[in-house]
């Protein structure tokens, strides 16, 4: 059943033959391509995490049997208490990360084996998932340059986070369940990035949403945490409706949902800038906004921090939330055909980036800062995709996965330490509030060091990873703003300005976070302070690995212009613009369409100056901002959270309260819908419909009552009525 299909000639076929294209894609086994590359067991990459899920799931169910029995019998149950954990809490430490390591190894093998000049994706079709009439959705994987990069990120970062979790989650009774969910998440994420069509992608799309829901609400006994999970799921589903509708439109237009025929036939089938393609891309963007927490659907991500911190690192920073970006990049051809949608996407991205960054400035919860930072960085990615810099979007996605995962895991290490300290401390201590931290550098030097690397990376300071990716995005916005026939030139220029501003804000709030957490005086409290400690090796090792990636990860796509910036250090890097070339087969079609529509990108920014000049400016500005933030934050006096009500009024209060998005949604959407629901139930269902039904019943009863008035019980009366009836019948027979 497993048959490789290479659709080599597809992209080259004229649009009118798209029917034959999809036919070829559908008929498994017909090898028409010249590409000789055979991927090594790609299905196993996906299957391994699923296997991990199955095994961990069984262990979780077995453990749960014990824990619930203990609960019923009213005795304590702590699997970590004894000298040796039970098997259900020992094996997941190996199964979870093990499955990920194998999957990553397999992905790496495939990545290394993938020829650089592989022009067409390799399809592995397993079975016909939904096959009826002219609809055919296969359970199939598509291996190409983009999905390979994503797979590496997902399995690689995923593996590190699994390892981190072994340390972080030790002591949690739901240990096997945690790993089961985490493995399941990776499975769905791989389905998402490897799926060969929108249909398959949607399975992963909703699947990761499910796992996100389960993991945010992992500590489900806590009302707030399970609320957060529910919110994430429902908001995501709003986006999913957009995705669904986009799929329906695509199916109507193309008769298939597979990527290859759609993208190959798009140019011929839909009018550039037409209503159809604009609608499709905007609807897809709605889906992406839901998944990637963009305005107006960004509200769930900060709440999602209720989940365990490694989950925040994996799902809500490195992988799942970037699915929207991946999807937009995957559909780059469609977006290139819809410049209006692109402007909207870029606008949403730029706006989200700015708004989230302003909120991050005023947060005290370490994870909330990072959450808003994530929203902001995802905005950057959408800005990149919106201005047509699809490679830059993926590039930032990758580097962001490194440094944001690192930041979250670092925060996790901090929280871990704070948690232990809080146990021994006096009274209640919010272990995530930065006002309760300060001066942690002394207790956790490794964490502090790696987090500074990540901070410099996200701040965009040369030569850290974030510098290159962010700079590329900013630069592309500027360059396309200057393209000669870009109808949205002025808009792009504005985006560029917003992006620059946001980059500086990013530098500021990250430096603030670092200073508040690691520097200055310690605010933890006397009793707790002595229990602060560095994280165990199983947690610091992934941190160090991610730090290395944050440091060097940017080198995979050093722009040609900046190539010489390394000249003094190592000599010019040999691999400049490697990612750009690597993704060429996926993005070139979109690039061509865009160039055809907008003309060549400009060589200078709207206000003058070339790429290198602006790179220099931005890194210097970022460095200056970091310095300013350090100075500003260090001089400010912070009091422990319990004594601080937060900013009083004005913009700072508004930013502290997240610009009141939740409150507005609550008033405009949630309450009206709940109110309408109640009204429907009480008024329509009970009063009108049942009222009518009961009226019909009561009417019969009323009529019966009226008729019963004749039933006086008086024999004479009955006889009289009888006579009357007799008279009528008789009269009828006589006279009629």
């Amino acid at each position: 059943m497993v048959t490789g299909v290479s659709a080599a000639l597809l992209a080259g076929l004229p649009a009118s033959a798209a029917g034959a294209v999809s036919e070829a894609a559908a008929s498994a086994g017909a090898s028409t391509g010249a590409a000789a590359w055979e991927p090594i067991l790609p299905g196993l990459i996906v299957l391994l995490p699923l296997l991990g899920f199955a095994l961990n799931g069984i262990l979780a169910l077995l453990a749960a049997r014990d824990s619930s029995a203990a609960l019923r019998e009213g005795r304590d149950w702590n699997p970590f208490a004894g000298p040796r954990r039970p098997a259900t809490h020992r094996l997941p430490s190996w199964i979870g990360p093990g499955a990920m390591a194998l999957a990553f190894g397999l992905a790496l093998l495939n990545f290394l084996g993938m020829p650089a000049d592989l022009h067409d994706p390799v399809i592995r079709s397993y079975w016909g998932w939904i096959v009826t009439g002219d609809l055919r959705i296969d359970a199939a994987l598509q291996l190409d340059q983009l999905s390979m990069v994503m797979t590496l990120v997902v399995t690689g970062v995923g593996f590190l986070i699994h390892v981190f979790s072994v340390g972080y989650m030790a002591g949690d009774p739901g240990y096997p369940r945690y790993f089961a969910y985490l493995n399941l998440f990776v499975f769905f994420m791989l389905v998402l990035v490897l799926g060969s069509g929108f249909g398959t992608m949607f399975v992963g799309w909703e699947g990761v949403g499910l796992c996100s829901y389960l993991l945010i609400g992992y500590w489900f006994s806590d009302r707030e945490k399970s609320d957060a999970g529910k919110k994430a799921f429902i908001v995501n589903r709003i986006g999913d409706v957009g995705f669904l509708l986009a799929m329906f439109l695509l199916f109507q237009g193309f008769g298939t949902l597979d990527f290859i025929p759609i993208f190959a036939g798009a140019e011929g089938r839909v009018a550039a800038g037409g209503v159809a393609v604009t609608a499709i891309t905007l609807l897809l963007m709605l889906g992406a906004a839901g998944k990637s927490a963009q305005i107006p659907l960004h509200i769930w991500l900060p709440d999602a921090m209720a989940g365990p911190t490694p989950v925040s690192a994996l799902i809500h920073a490195a992988t799942m939330v970037t699915a929207g970006v991946y999807m937009v990049v995957r559909s780059s051809v469609l977006y290139a055909l819809a410049p209006t949608s692109q402007a909207v996407v870029a606008g949403i991205g730029a706006l989200t980036a700015l708004v989230a960054a302003t909120v991050a400035l005023q947060q005290y919860d370490i994870k909330k800062v990072l959450a808003y930072s994530t929203v902001s960085q995802l905005g950057f990615m959408f800005l990149a995709a919106g201005v047509g810099a699809f490679t830059a979007a993926v590039f930032h996605l990758v580097t962001h996965a490194f440094f944001k995962a690192l930041l979250f895991l670092g925060a996790g290490a901090v929280i871990h330490a704070m948690h232990d300290a809080a146990h021994h401390g006096d009274g209640h201590l919010d272990e995530q509030d930065m006002r309760n931290m300060g001066g942690l550098r002394r207790y956790m030097p490794v964490t502090c060091a790696v987090m500074w690397i990540a901070t410099l990376a996200i701040a965009g300071i040369w030569p850290f990873a974030g510098f290159f990716s962010k700079d590329e995005i900013v630069w592309y916005a500027a360059a396309w703003a200057g393209a000669e026939s870009n109808p949205f030139g002025a808009l792009y220029a504005a985006y560029w300005g917003l992006a620059l501003l946001t980059a500086l804000l990013t530098a500021f709030y990250m430096a603030r976070l670092m200073v508040m957490t690691f520097h200055g005086a310690n605010r933890t409290g006397e009793a707790a302070r002595s229990h602060l400690h560095e994280a165990p090796g199983v947690m610091t090792a992934p941190l160090i690995a991610l730090a290395a990636l944050s440091l060097f990860g940017g080198w995979i796509n050093v722009p040609e212009e900046l190539r010489m910036s390394f000249a003094g250090l190592f000599g010019a890097l040999p691999m400049s613009e490697w990612l750009h070339h690597w993704l060429e087969p996926v993005t070139h079609a979109a690039a061509e369409i865009q160039t055809a529509g907008f003309g060549e990108a400009a060589r200078t920014a709207p206000v003058g100056g070339g790429e290198a000049a602006w790179a220099l400016v931005s890194t210097l500005a970022a460095a200056a901002t970091v310095a300013a933030a350090v100075r500003f934050t260090s001089t400010r006096k912070y009091v422990p959270a319990a004594e601080d009500p937060g900013p009083r009024r004005g913009l700072r209060r508004a930013a502290y309260d997240k610009w009141y998005f939740d409150e507005v949604y609550d008033a405009v959407v949630v309450r009206p819908v709940v109110g309408a629901s109640r009204w429907c139930w009480k008024a329509v269902d009970t009063l009108v419909i049942d009222g009518f039904v009961n009226f019909a019943g009561n009417f019969a009863r009323l009529a019966g009552w009226a008729a019963s008035l004749f039933q006086t019980g008086q024999v004479n009366m009955y006889a009289f009525v009888l006579t009357l009836g007799f008279l009528f019948v008789l009269g009828a027979t006589v006279f009629l």
Binding site: Q711, T712, G713, Q714, V715, N716, A719, T723
Partner: protein
């Protein structure tokens, strides 16, 4: 002579009916019902002269039913009287709804 007999039958019948409607004494109501039956009997007998012996047979049957009815009906009246101490039908009105 057929028509006058039928007229008589009709008159007896309606008089009986009137009695059923306007009297309160259960015994007299019974008597009036017997009167109605007899009115019909008269019609049967009158017509049997012109249609065949079956008319008289029916009268025979009607009489039997009347006897049975009288027996049961009077028993009921006795039973009711024991309970209510009256045979005034206005007092028996539980037979409603």
């Amino acid at each position: 002579m057929l028509t006058p007999a039928l007229y008589l039958s009709a008159v007896l019948f309606v008089v009986g009916t009137l009695g059923v409607i306007v009297r309160r004494n259960a015994i007299i109501i019974f008597l009036c019902i017997e009167l109605q039956l007899n009115a019909v009997n008269l019609a049967f007998v009158a017509l049997s002269r012109y249609t065949g012996i079956e008319g008289q047979l029916y009268v025979f049957f009607v009489m039997t039913v009347a006897a049975a009815e009288a027996a049961v009906g009077l028993a009921i009246i006795i039973s009711i009287f024991r309970h209510y101490e009256t045979v005034n039908v206005d007092k028996f009105n539980v037979l409603k709804w």
